[in-house]
Symmetry: C2
Subunit: 340 residues, 2 copies
């Protein structure tokens, strides 16, 4: 009984290539007492996976060399020796990049309620870490309030597109996106309903931001870090808030871009704050109900970019950094699970 | 009737030299309706004055070329046509670097209560912007609570030394200073009662900080910015707070040091926040009572570095950046006022 797995062969320098990961065949894990055996159906491809590959301080320990790549995912319970799971349940948790995994006391998987009216890719996107990150980052960490001028980078991305739409739905005065290239910028405005979207590949971003937000930026949701973050700091409004969600521009780079404009936090009495979605775990259910309502009402439009087959997971991760994806990137490991 | 003034002749590049300021003689201002004429006694020499000399975005407009250098100070009311002031009152406000000034409706000066038992230099230090900055920065912006591990840069300086002493008085678990040179470090520990003080001129500050705060830094009060701030970020504890008070290491430099470690704000769910003391103006009286009690009880030890004569104000400002001062730098314009 085989279990295909993608393991970390060497720590990456820059993008993930063939020297970094390897597809190996292991034996299917055995289901112990208080455990369940999960057939993995789908993987959530998140930028944070790239940070786990580095031997650097993080909110979770680095993936060990030789170990399975850590990842969120969903699957179906095939065998259960736990009261928590029954055969046929769809569960979500840290599956890793593999075909089979074990749900145990130490890596609690949550069981999806049935009859939500949302398919599994939508759940993995809007109700998964992507949507939850957007929800708590904007509303809690960013202390969003109606009337705010909101700027979102990575605006065409899975998280960014949801952030902007929640802000619009909750009464933002103005939502401005930042994305790469005219096509993505058009999508951000036409599809996700942002008021404007600036192309960071064009010159003079900081000047264009000033024109787009003449009264300053009340809340900046930062998905990218680096020079774009530095540019937005220059437009911070009084008591402006910068939500540090990720720094995707920096994850593959060997030379970190230093922030030069943090003095604006003094000038504008601003706040820059990081967060990790796990900190809000106790409130996930509340957020998922709100997010499901936003999807069902049509206020949050979403896209999933489905990549077929476990073997394609490393290249799917790279799509996040090249911008080659359209919406939330998910790897379908077993489509019979996804179609259940 | 003359009025000696120090005016801005040209915007500085780096330290203030003879080409930047000029001592000129003007005529003494006339006291209009609702105004008072003030004989300036003492000037508060603050790092922020250097930022006002630049043509850069700030929390107040830049000092105009040709204008009197903006500065806090204290003086005595010599003539009054306002109900707010009576002749003989000692008042504090934005006097500017000059011998005489006008208190009006637009630049309200506050009258010092008499009988406080504190001399004017002490008032200008601990009850002035220095002590207020330490008080609100630590307790409000930094959300200090008893049991915190606190790190303070510029620890031998006027603000830093008060921050550490308030933290000790309010029950910090540990207070670690950062200062320049062995003599200042010794002073921070022996005189101001910090638990330890690290010399930033010695190598490997980030490693020494980790050793000094093995459980991480709950609250960092940053007076200096630049590389020291970047080093402390690496030691941030979970939910750590960075209070941006000033960036004295950067004010004279043409090339800003970029912060590379702000990713730690994500990893540690940290917060970095700037402030300007004027934001707390409505609560100054409350803080001044608390600060006066800390001085009278001996819990806050303080030093004033008195420089004689208005003409010495520019070189007194430079002392803040060379570290040539000892405690709060004040310029005595007229010592008959100070001795009143």
């Amino acid at each position: 009984m085989e279990n295909s797995q993608v393991v970390l062969r060497a720590r990456p320098k820059g993008m993930v290539d063939d020297s970094v990961t390897e597809l190996v065949s292991s034996s299917r894990p055995l289901c112990g007492v208080d455990e369940a055996l999960i057939r993995v159906g789908i993987l959530s491809i998140d930028p944070t996976i790239r940070t786990w590959m580095d031997d650097a301080p993080g909110y979770l320990p680095p993936i060990e060399v030789g170990g399975v790549i850590r990842s969120s995912g969903a699957g179906v319970v095939v065998e259960s020796r736990s009261e928590r799971y029954k055969v046929g349940d769809i569960v979500v948790g840290l599956t890793g990049w593999q075909e089979w995994c074990i749900a145990s006391r130490s890596n609690v998987f949550s069981v999806l309620p049935s009859g939500m009216g949302l398919d599994l890719p939508t759940v993995m996107n809007v109700l998964g870490s992507t949507g939850l990150t957007a929800y708590f980052g904007l509303l809690e960490v960013g202390s969003f309030s109606a009337g705010d001028v909101v700027v979102v980078s990575g605006a065409a991305g899975a998280t960014g597109s949801i952030v902007g739409q929640i802000a619009k739905a909750r009464g933002a005065k103005r939502v401005v996106g930042i994305a790469g290239g005219p096509e993505k910028c058009r999508e951000v405005v036409e599809e996700y309903g942002f008021d404007e979207c600036l192309d960071y590949r064009e010159p003079k971003l900081s000047r264009r931001l000033r024109a787009a937000c003449p009264d300053g930026v009340d809340l900046y949701f930062d998905n990218v870090g680096g020079e774009i973050l530095d540019d937005v700091l220059l437009s911070l409004a009084m008591n402006g808030r910068v939500v540090l969600c990720g720094a995707i521009s920096q994850y593959n780079s060997q030379e970190i871009v230093g922030l030069k404009n943090t003095f604006m936090l003094i000038m504008r009495r601003g706040r820059m704050q990081g967060f990790i979605i796990f900190d809000f775990a106790a409130r996930f259910a509340e957020a998922q109900i709100a997010l499901a309502q936003l999807v069902l009402s049509g206020e949050v439009v979403h896209h999933e970019h489905l990549v077929k087959g476990l073997a394609a997971a490393p290249s799917a991760l790279n799509l996040l950094f090249t911008g080659g994806n359209h919406g939330k990137t998910l790897v379908v490991v077993d489509d019979t699970v996804v179609l259940q």
